[in-house]
C-alpha cells in the first residue's frame, strides 16, 4: 500500500475501524509467555522437592508430600531441607531474572547480565569486606551486598554509556569481565589474608542455596520488595528507552531519572539475591533471552515470563547440582555457569547480536 487512499484518512479517522485482527497476536503470545513458564515452574518445583543427593529418593519423598510424617527421615528431607531451599531458589531466580531483563534494557545490550558485568561480584565483595572487617554477615550482609551491587551496576552502566564500549555488546561484557576479575581477586586476597574467615568467605566466591533457610530470605525481603516496586514503576519509561532516549523523552519520560531508578532497582534485586545465595551468574542472561523469544522485545512484557523463568532456571540448576556428584553437591553457581556459558557463546557467535 503506497501513497493513495488518502480520502479515508485522518479527517475520517473518527469512524472506528474494524477491530485490528493483529491485536490478538500479542495477547496469545502473552498467554504462552505465562503458561509455559508456569508449567515449567510446577515441574521443577516438584522435582526439587522429590530429588536429593542423599538417600531419600523420589518414591520415598513422594509418599511424604501429602504430609503425615510416617517416614520421619523423608519428611525432614522434603519439608525441612528441600522445601526452604526450593523457595529460596525461586525467590533468588525471580530477582536475578527480572534484574537481568532490566539491566539489559538500561544498557541496551542483550549480553548485559548482572553476573557478567560485575554486579554480582560487587555484591559478594561487599559482603566479604564486611566479614573481613569483623562484621556479621547475617545483619550487615544485605546492606553490604546492595551497596556493592550498586557500585558494580553504576560501573557497568557507566561503561555502557562510553563511546566504543556501549555500541559493541561484546566489549561491554569484556569490561564487565575485567571488573568481575578485579573484584574476584580482591575477594581472594581477603581470603588469603584472613584464614579465620576463610570458610565463611568461600561461600561468597561461588553461590548456592543449600542450607539456606527462610530466615535468610526474610533478611533480604525488604531489599527485594523495594527493588521489585521500583522496577514496576520504571518499566514503562524503560521500555520506551528501547526506542532511543530522544524518542523516550518525546513520549514524556525522563530518561536519566528512569536509568537511575532502574540501576537502583537492579542493585537491590541482585544485592538481595546475592546476600542470600552468593554470586550466581548467567541467570540474568538466559532468562530474559528465553522470555524475549516467548513474548517479543517490549520490556513490560518481558518482565512477566522473566519473573517466572528465573525461578525455573535456578531451581532446575539446583536440582542438577544435587545429582552431578552424588552423594555430594556441585555448587549452584558452577551449574548455572555450565548452562549459561554455552548460551553466551551462541548469542555472541550469532551473525549479529540482536539489537535491544
Amino acid at each position: 500500500m503506497l501513497v493513495g487512499n488518502h480520502e479515508r484518512s485522518i479527517t475520517s479517522g473518527a469512524a472506528p475501524p474494524a477491530a485490528a485482527p493483529t491485536d490478538r497476536l500479542p495477547a496469545r503470545r502473552m498467554a504462552a509467555g505465562v503458561a509455559v513458564p508456569v508449567a515449567l515452574l510446577a515441574l521443577t518445583g516438584a522435582a526439587s522437592l522429590l530429588i536429593g543427593s542423599g538417600e531419600v529418593g523420589p518414591v520415598r519423598s513422594w509418599r511424604e508430600v501429602p504430609g503425615g510424617a510416617r517416614d520421619p527421615e523423608a519428611a525432614f528431607a522434603v519439608w525441612h531441607l528441600r522445601g526452604p531451599r526450593t523457595l529460596v531458589a525461586m525467590v533468588v531466580g525471580a530477582a536475578l531474572g527480572t534484574a537481568g531483563a532490566a539491566l539489559q534494557a538500561v544498557a541496551r545490550n542483550p549480553l548485559a547480565e548482572p553476573g557478567l558485568l560485575g554486579v554480582s561480584a560487587g555484591a559478594s565483595t561487599g559482603v566479604v569486606l564486611v566479614i573481613a572487617l569483623g562484621g556479621s554477615a547475617a545483619t550487615l550482609g544485605p546492606y553490604a551486598a546492595v551497596l556493592g551491587a550498586l557500585l558494580g551496576c553504576l560501573a557497568a552502566v557507566g561503561a555502557a554509556r562510553l563511546r566504543g564500549v556501549g555500541d559493541d555488546p561484546l566489549r561491554l561484557v569484556l569490561a564487565g569481565a575485567a571488573l568481575s576479575g578485579l573484584l574476584g581477586s580482591l575477594t581472594s586476597v581477603l581470603l588469603l589474608v584472613d584464614n579465620r574467615t576463610a570458610d565463611e568467605v568461600r561461600f561468597w566466591t561461588v553461590g548456592g542455596v543449600a542450607g539456606r533457610d527462610l530466615g535468610a530470605l526474610a533478611d533480604v525481603a525488604p531489599a527485594l520488595l523495594l527493588g521489585a516496586v521500583l522496577l514496576l514503576l520504571v518499566a514503562r519509561p524503560l521500555s520506551a528507552m528501547a526506542l532511543g532516549e530522544p524518542a523516550a523523552a518525546g513520549l514524556g519520560h525522563r530518561p536519566r531519572r528512569a536509568r537511575l531508578t532502574a540501576v537502583v532497582a537492579v542493585a537491590l534485586l541482585v544485592g538481595g539475591a546475592t546476600a542470600v545465595a552468593g554470586p550466581i551468574g548467567f541467570v540474568g542472561l538466559v532468562v530474559p533471552f528465553a522470555a524475549r523469544a516467548l513474548v517479543g522485545p517490549d520490556l513490560r512484557r518481558v518482565l512477566v515470563p522473566s519473573l517466572l523463568l528465573g525461578p525455573v532456571v535456578v531451581v532446575a540448576a539446583d536440582v542438577v547440582s544435587r545429582l552431578l556428584v552424588r552423594p555430594y553437591e556441585m555448587p549452584l553457581g558452577v551449574v548455572t555457569a555450565l548452562i549459561g556459558a554455552p548460551v553466551l557463546v551462541v548469542v555472541a557467535r550469532a551473525r549479529r547480536v540482536p539489537a535491544l
Binding site: A14, P16, P21, L243, G252, G296, L356
Partner: protein
C-alpha cells in the same frame, strides 16, 4: 516575516495548539547553536526548516520539543512556558520523531504505534479502549493497518518511517515535530512521507519538519524557515522566499529558481558553486 493566516479552525480534528519560539537561544555547552530565534509555525500548515549542515535546524527542533532547554528566551505552548510544563503533559500536546529513532528487533508495527499512547497512560491508567482506538486511527491515517502485524525489520524504509509517524499520530498531539524523516529514503518513499505529513497538517495539526532536501521543502511546505549559522535568514511561503539570493546565501550555490507550471511552486536548479 509574518506567517500566513491560519486556516479556519473548524477544519481542525484536534484542538490546535500554538507553539511559539520567543527569542530562543540554544547552546551546546558554550557553543551557541541557535541564536535568538523567533518562530511561530502556523497551525494546520506544514512548516519545513531548511539550511546547510550544522546550521542548528535539528537543535531548533529539539528546543521546540522540550528536549533541549533554552539558554535564553522561551518556547511557549498556548502561552505557557514549555520548560515548566510537566514532561508528560507536554508529550500529550507535542509529538516528536527524532532523527535517531531506532526500534529493537522483534517489534511489530502495532507494538511500535502503541508506544505513542504512553503519555496518556499513568500508574493507575493502563491500556484502555480509547488507547486502542487511537492506535487504530493512527494506523488508518498512515495507511499502515494492513501491515500492523508485520515486524519492523521486514518493512521497506518508507513503510518503517510511516510506522514511526503513526506512533506520533497515535500520541494525538496538536503539534508534530519531525527531524529529517526522509533522510535515508529514495524519492518514492520521500514523497510517501511528505504526502502523509501534508495530510496530517491539513487535519489541523501544527507540523514542523526539519528537512535536508530543499526541493522537497519547496514542493510540500506551506511555510518555509531557512536557517544559517544558528540564525533565521528567511521565513514565509516557499514561492515568496526561495530566491537565487537565498540559495547562494544558504549553501554558497548559484542556482536558478523556476516555477513549476503545475503547482506554481519554486523549482531550484543548481548551476554551480558560487564564486
Amino acid at each position: 516575516m509574518t506567517p500566513p493566516a491560519t486556516p479556519p479552525s473548524a477544519q481542525a480534528a484536534d484542538p490546535s495548539a500554538v507553539l511559539r519560539a520567543d527569542g530562543v537561544t540554544l547552546a551546546h555547552g558554550q557553543a551557541i547553536a541557535v541564536d535568538t530565534i523567533r518562530l511561530a509555525p502556523p497551525p494546520g500548515r506544514l512548516t519545513a526548516v531548511v539550511g546547510p549542515n550544522g546550521c542548528g535546524k535539528s537543535t531548533l527542533l529539539a528546543g521546540l520539543s522540550r528536549l533541549h532547554r533554552p539558554a535564553g528566551g522561551t518556547v511557549l505552548l498556548d502561552g505557557r512556558d514549555l520548560a515548566r510544563l510537566p514532561a508528560r503533559e507536554a508529550a500529550r500536546r507535542i509529538g516528536l520523531l527524532p532523527q535517531s529513532a531506532q526500534a529493537p528487533d522483534g517489534l511489530t508495527v502495532a507494538d511500535l504505534v502503541r508506544f505513542g499512547r504512553q503519555p496518556h497512560q499513568g500508574l493507575l491508567r493502563q491500556w484502555s479502549p480509547q488507547d486502542q482506538q487511537a492506535v487504530d486511527r493512527a494506523l488508518t491515517a498512515t495507511g499502515m493497518t494492513a501491515l500492523a502485524g508485520r515486524l519492523l525489520e521486514t518493512l521497506s524504509g518508507g513503510q518503517r518511517q510511516r510506522a514511526w509517524i503513526a506512533l506520533t499520530v497515535a500520541q494525538e498531539t496538536a503539534v508534530l515535530l519531525l527531524d529529517e524523516p526522509t533522510s535515508a529514503l529514495d524519492l518514492g518513499h520521500q514523497l510517501e512521507v511528505f504526502e502523509l505529513l501534508r495530510e496530517l497538517a491539513a487535519a489541523g495539526r501544527t507540523v514542523v519538519v526539519v528537512v535536508h532536501d530543499l526541493m522537497l521543502a519547496c514542493r510540500y511546505a506551506d511555510h518555509l524557515v531557512a536557517m544559517k549559522a544558528g540564525r533565521m535568514v528567511a521565513e514565509g511561503a516557499p514561492r515568496e522566499v526561495v530566491t537565487p539570493e537565498l540559495i547562494r546565501r544558504l549553501y554558497g550555490v548559484e542556482a536558478g529558481v523556476l516555477r513549476d507550471p503545475d503547482t506554481d511552486r519554486p523549482l531550484v536548479v543548481p548551476r554551480g558553486l558560487a564564486p
